[in-house]
Amino acid sequence: MVNNGRTPRESASNARISGVGRRSFLKATGAGATGVALAGCLGGNGGDEGSSEGLKVGHIGPMTSPLGVGSLRSANMAANVVNEGDGVNGGEVEIVEGDTEASASQAQAVVEELIQQENVDMLVGVFASEVALSLVDLTADNDVPLLVTGSASPQVTRDHAGENYDKYKNIFRPGPINSDLQAEAMAGYAGYLKDLHDWDQVAFLRDNAAWTTSFEELIPGLLSERDIEIVYESALSIDSPDVGSVMDEISGTDADYILRFFAHIDGSSMLGTWHDGQYDFGIEGIHVTGMFPGYFEASQGAALYETTAQTGAAGVTDITEKTVPFVESYREQFGDAENPPNQAPMYMGFTTYDAINIVSEVANENEESPRGSIDNFVDSMLDVSHTGVAGTIEFYGEDSDYPHDLKETRNDQGDIVNYPVTQWQGDGSLECVYPEQYRTADHVMPEWMR
């Protein structure tokens, strides 16, 4: 691998795929003739180039996390919508599940199986950037389109298609915007907080992981342009974050709020400490655990006043005319499901839903599988301008810094708007507080600070 990213991993483990599982293959081979008949479509290097009819989608994500569950459900919703329409090239969209268990080695095993055994036409999903980075070479070597819908590290595009376009042109990111752009969006949000509350001193915290490198590099400059001062800065170990001592140290500063970027770290204990101790600062930024739709209840109200940016704004506002109906349909189907998330998928679900719709359109337009001709696929993808549930989706081209990354959308002032911020308010309602065009309520500071 030639990426500079980093890859967390558990010890070597195994692929788990629903549908046609390995065990059934073992049984089949045990039955003798069946096994031999199947042999033609197994193994080898790369196998066939996908199917000519329909669209077989390998969905990869951490299925032990509500993030992965929401994304897989959204993938199936998209498949149902397409199948109820005209389908894809006379066939149907079929979703095959691969559980990464949030580990890069597991993800590699799963993706090898999806490509070589399941013969998928495309892959969609991936949460951790480290996992995405560990899959770029594998998918590029097999010319299988990989639509990243959960990871934000710019390394996924900039350090691959940005450096060797021909090799890595199979990789697209329909969302979220990459963390370079997220940093700019968050700086815009910090500007809003400054205008609203006069907050101009920030304690800057982040996961010590690949996706936050952009924040480390860009946030100080972007905040200083807006006359916002960083009074405390720390990258916390995602293995054992020392939240208690960090909170104590921050309370010794004049910070108006913590601007934190947590995807790996669960910030719940920080919220609990903050709420109970009524610390004299707000908690803002990005917190993936906090995007869980039932988070307010799960945190027993400790999440009140915390904010997080999230693609799709959890469906609480009309980003496009499709956003709210999508979330309503999700709630209808999964409101009573055993596993959360029940109220809405988390951000990955929004982008996964859009990704499958886009590729279905492209496959129909080209009248072939995305793996039929990767060049045709790429050309058509670059022409896409899709109104999805998470916003308008267009991709950067070959000559950009981030080839095939989702383009940011901007308002008249030039602020990035397709990375909205939500806040838990009042008795547990989730409101979109930024940007202005999607705002359902103004940001409120904790009641003990007023």
């Binding site: 010890s11 195994n14 065990r23 073992l26 193994g43 268990e101 580990s103 199986e113 097999n142 170990s237």
Partner: protein, 355 residues
């Protein structure tokens, strides 16, 4: 009075006897020329060995029939077989059980990564591989020199603490990559078939060399240390010297395995390489196959990986490992010599006492 077991044994002899006789001429040929170096075989043992090696070498023909991921499983099993055999020549033979062998493969992997990151990203594989194996050897000696003078449980405890220490070390400093580790190393190839052969060939060579050494006087002394260390001393042989040799023999292939594992994943991180679970898994494989036999742990590694990756593939990670640990427990209780050793000796008993 004849028990059911005796009846079964006689039946088995009757079935296997003719096969043994059919292959005994060729086994005798092996025994005449190679027996002194690798041990003597009867016809059945020769057949099992020949078929196994042939099956491994011709996996291209049959592995895809088993499952689409079989090459991956076989490649992983080959690497882990190196670890299990390396552990065995040291711990299985001398009885000084190491609970921290993964630091030896880990140091090789980290040496590769640190050379690529800090010295030269274009450093040729030959150079990083040789230096990495050397690093394993040096660390092996560093652990062995002070600890193997100790008797009793202290050696095991020290190796155990060693792996915990090394794990924390890699996550304590950013320069060592933390939890995500380093992704600079490249995989050998993504072609599953080629990748398998890249792992298989070194594994077979390691098996050959270790079997040869285990059958030599050195191997006999190591076993003697396990059985009665004072007797070895009384015979005028310095056991510490030979225990250190066993660590040398173990460290080098551990380093080779570490280098191969880097080539498999293209990433070096504490969870894949250092975590104490890895050290325990090596022991589990050796136990399954049969400690103190080199080829037993090799078979154990393949069995373990096949169960883990293929047969239990549909289960969650927790369930898979739970089943595997129960199996290890059962083998420890009911077949202490290990499954493959048991089979091997049973085959050896067919057709008289030739072994």
């Amino acid at each position: 009075m004849t028990s059911a077991k005796d009846t079964f044994d006689r039946g088995l002899d009757r079935v296997l006897g003719p096969i043994e006789r059919a292959f005994s001429p060729v086994a005798n040929l092996f025994n005449r020329y190679l027996g002194p170096y690798f041990g003597k075989l009867n016809g059945l043992q020769f057949l099992l060995l020949a078929v196994s090696i042939l099956a491994l070498l011709t996996a291209e023909l049959w592995a895809p029939l088993v499952s689409g991921t079989m090459f991956r499983t076989l490649a992983l099993a080959s690497i882990w077989a190196i670890f299990a055999m390396s552990w065995d020549i040291q711990s299985g033979y001398t009885g000084y059980i190491s609970f921290g062998h993964s630091v030896l493969s880990g140091i090789a992997a980290y040496t590769t990564a640190l050379l690529l990151v800090n010295v030269n990203p274009e450093m040729p594989f030959v150079v990083t591989a040789v230096l990495s194996v050397l690093a394993s050897l040096v660390l092996g000696l560093l652990i062995a020199l002070p600890t193997l003078r100790l008797e009793g449980p202290y050696f095991s405890l020290i190796t155990f603490v060693g792996v915990l220490l090394f794990y924390r070390l890699t996550t304590a400093y950013d320069a060592l990559g933390g939890i995500p580790g380093f992704s600079q190393p490249e995989v050998f190839t993504w072609d599953p078939v080629m990748r398998y052969y890249y792992m298989l060939v070194p594994m077979l060579l390691v098996a050959l060399v270790l079997t040869f050494l285990a059958r030599s006087n050195l191997g006999m002394i190591l076993v003697a240390i396990r059985e009665n260390e004072s007797a070895v001393s009384a015979a005028g042989i310095n056991p510490t010297k030979f225990k250190i040799w066993s660590f040398v023999l173990s460290s080098i292939p551990m380093g080779i395995g570490g280098v191969l594992l880097v080539g498999f994943y293209g990433n070096v991180d504490p969870a894949t390489f250092i975590l104490v679970d890895n050290s325990i898994e090596m022991i589990a494989m050796a136990v399954l196959g049969g400690m103190g036999s080199i080829l037993g742990p090799l078979g154990g590694a393949f069995l373990f990986e096949f169960l883990n990756e293929e047969l239990l593939g549909g289960q969650s990670r927790s369930v898979r490992y739970m089943i595997l640990w129960v199996l290890v427990l059962l083998v420890l209780v009911f077949a202490r010599r290990g499954l493959f050793r048991k089979i091997w000796h049973r085959l050896g008993e067919v057709g008289g006492d030739r072994r």
